[in-house]
């Protein structure tokens, strides 16, 4: 059951890795997120060096997102125009993120920054989603069929360079999608995530895209970002383990398909409530690790000054 990972230089039980891919893939298919925010901490917990975990998780996200995106594509639920605009911002963001990582490594504060970013992002987004989905559920229960609230888009409507996004039935400025794409690209390089848990809420709450196209569009965006970051990680850090990636991917794609089916049976509000709880749980776990006294206050890494 053991298999040797050539880049991580260690052997792992491949059944456990496939099961891990399956479980995380299921969640990503269900919620339309990549699942990197779960996979990276889980791999580190399983003993994989964190640089390899961050870089290799990206392949898993590419695959499970691909499989989820195709399912959404058949439903014609992807806004490629929006993906394209966000991707343009994403490339710039990724390059910027890789540069930031190099800077933080030199300071020796990489781990802390990553952990703090995780806690902050997961905490904020989880809380926002939880509140929103609970309100929506309550409204549904009390029988008030709230037609889409006409929200005051204010400053977003006032921005220039407007563009028509037909699939999303939106006519808005390209600046917000560009900025969101940039931010997610940078975070993807720093945290080893696809950024679904940021893109999805951003699309829903900032861009006000219809929920129908959010899943598919965010998946396309995630595929593009993770593909680029994988190549960058392979060339700059030599940290992508293709054997580990293969195992995760095999579990991930099957899990993603099952997840898409399971997700179709749940209502949007329930899905968002569940995702919010998962996000908050991971965030709380990471925060706990930051404040609890480590088993050994010294840590060792094989690298020069």
């Amino acid at each position: 059951m053991e298999i040797y990972l050539p880049v991580a230089e260690m052997s792992v039980n491949w059944l456990i890795i496939i099961a891990l891919g399956l479980a995380v893939g299921f969640l990503s298919g269900m919620f339309g997120v990549g699942g990197g925010f779960l996979m990276t901490p889980l791999l580190v917990f399983a003993g994989i060096p964190s640089t390899v975990a961050v870089a290799t998780t990206l392949s898993h996200i590419t695959a499970s997102s691909m499989s989820g995106a195709l399912a959404q594509w058949r439903k014609r639920a992807i806004d490629f125009t929006m993906s394209g605009v966000m991707f343009a911002g994403g490339i710039a963001g990724t390059l910027c993120g890789v540069w930031l990582v190099a800077l933080m490594r030199r300071q020796g504060q990489m781990d802390l920054i990553v952990a703090l970013t995780y806690v902050l992002m997961l905490g904020t987004i989880g809380t926002l989603m939880l509140r929103e989905s609970l309100t929506a559920l309550k409204a549904y229960r009390s029988g008030v069929t709230s037609s889409r609230r006409m929200v005051n888009r204010g400053w977003i409507q006032a921005l220039p360079f407007k563009m028509r996004f037909r699939q999303s039935r939106l006519y808005i400025s390209v600046i917000p999608p560009l900025v969101i794409g940039f931010a997610v690209g940078a975070l993807s390089a720093i945290m080893g995530i696809g950024g679904g848990f940021i893109i999805v809420p951003a699309m829903i709450y900032i861009l006000r895209m219809p929920t129908r196209v959010v899943m598919g569009t965010s998946l396309v965006q995630i595929i593009a970002i993770t593909a680029i970051t994988t190549v960058l990680q392979a060339t700059s850090n030599f940290a992508v383990d293709i054997i580990l990636a293969g195992l995760l991917v095999v579990g991930g794609v099957v899990g993603a398909q099952l997840g898409v089916r399971a997700g179709g049976k749940l209502r949007g509000e329930q899905l968002r409530l569940l995702l919010a709880l998962v996000v908050l749980a991971v965030g709380a776990g990471l925060a706990w690790q930051l404040v609890v006294r480590p088993a050994d206050v010294y840590s060792l890494s094989l690298e020069g000054p």
Binding site: T62, M66, G108, A245, E303
Partner: protein, 246 residues
């Protein structure tokens, strides 16, 4: 006068009668394949012109390739554990295993052990960067690698089959670094080293693992691209298969 003459005589005659050592290892290359989960090598040897076993000790040291290491210490800052202090070491091995007939502190005086780098506590970095008090950091390296099974000291683990024939098993765990290792066998007589032998041991990947590792190092762009393609293809295939199934 008579005693001095006797001592001189003994000194002259010593080389002819001194104990000597021959040793070997069960394999001189460890191949890392896809099913590699760690292995064992056997180091064996014989003592020539053996004298009494009393006061005689054998020490086997296997030392892996050196790597630069950075150790960081976390401290609590506003409730959060943060890396505050760091020390850099050069010239510490990534693997160190010692087997001996008894604890090394009883075999020879400390300065003799230090000269030959025998014992985990005698492992000294060749260069230390950026810290005024590196000792706790050096201890942390030893502790950390001991936890991973990469550093170990195992006194009393040398088996004697006769007065002169001995062997010991050296565990090589899955997490070892690739490169050249050195197997050193020392013979001590009353705290003095009388003979030593060194044999190289190579740890290297073979087959598919080797090709993948080389590709990742030499052609990282194609390697990264291959990873992406694999992911995209598997995602696509699974999607098609599942659509057929329903």
């Amino acid at each position: 006068m008579k005693r001095a003459l006797l001592a001189l005589l003994l000194l002259i005659s010593l080389p002819a009668h001194a104990e000597d050592l021959v040793s070997g290892i069960s394999q001189d290359i460890i191949q890392i394949t896809s099913s590699y989960t760690g292995t064992q090598i056997v180091v064996f040897g014989a003592i020539e012109r053996a004298q009494t076993a009393q006061g005689r000790d054998v020490v086997v040291v296997v030392r892996g390739p050196d790597e630069p290491m950075t150790v960081r210490r976390r401290d609590r800052v506003v409730g959060v554990w943060v890396n505050r202090d760091a020390a850099h070491f050069e010239g510490l091995p990534t693997y160190y295993y010692l087997a001996a007939t008894q604890p090394v502190s009883r075999i020879a005086p400390r300065d003799t052990l230090a000269r030959y780098g025998i014992g985990l506590q005698q492992l000294q970095p060749s260069a230390i960067g950026s810290h005024h008090d590196p000792e706790p950091f050096r201890q942390a390296v030893i502790r950390h690698l001991q936890r991973l099974g990469l550093y170990a000291e195992s006194p009393g683990s040398i088996d004697f089959y006769s007065e002169t024939l001995f062997s010991t098993r050296v565990p090589v765990p899955a997490g070892v670094t690739r490169g050249q290792y050195n197997v050193e066998v020392y013979l001590f007589r009353d705290g003095q080293m009388v003979s030593a032998q060194s044999t190289p041991l190579f740890v290297d990947a073979s087959g598919l693992e080797r090709r993948l590792f080389n590709l990742a190092q030499n052609a990282p762009f194609s390697y990264g691209l291959a990873c992406v393609l694999m992911a995209v293809l598997l995602g696509w295939i699974s999607s098609v298969l599942f659509q057929r199934a329903t």
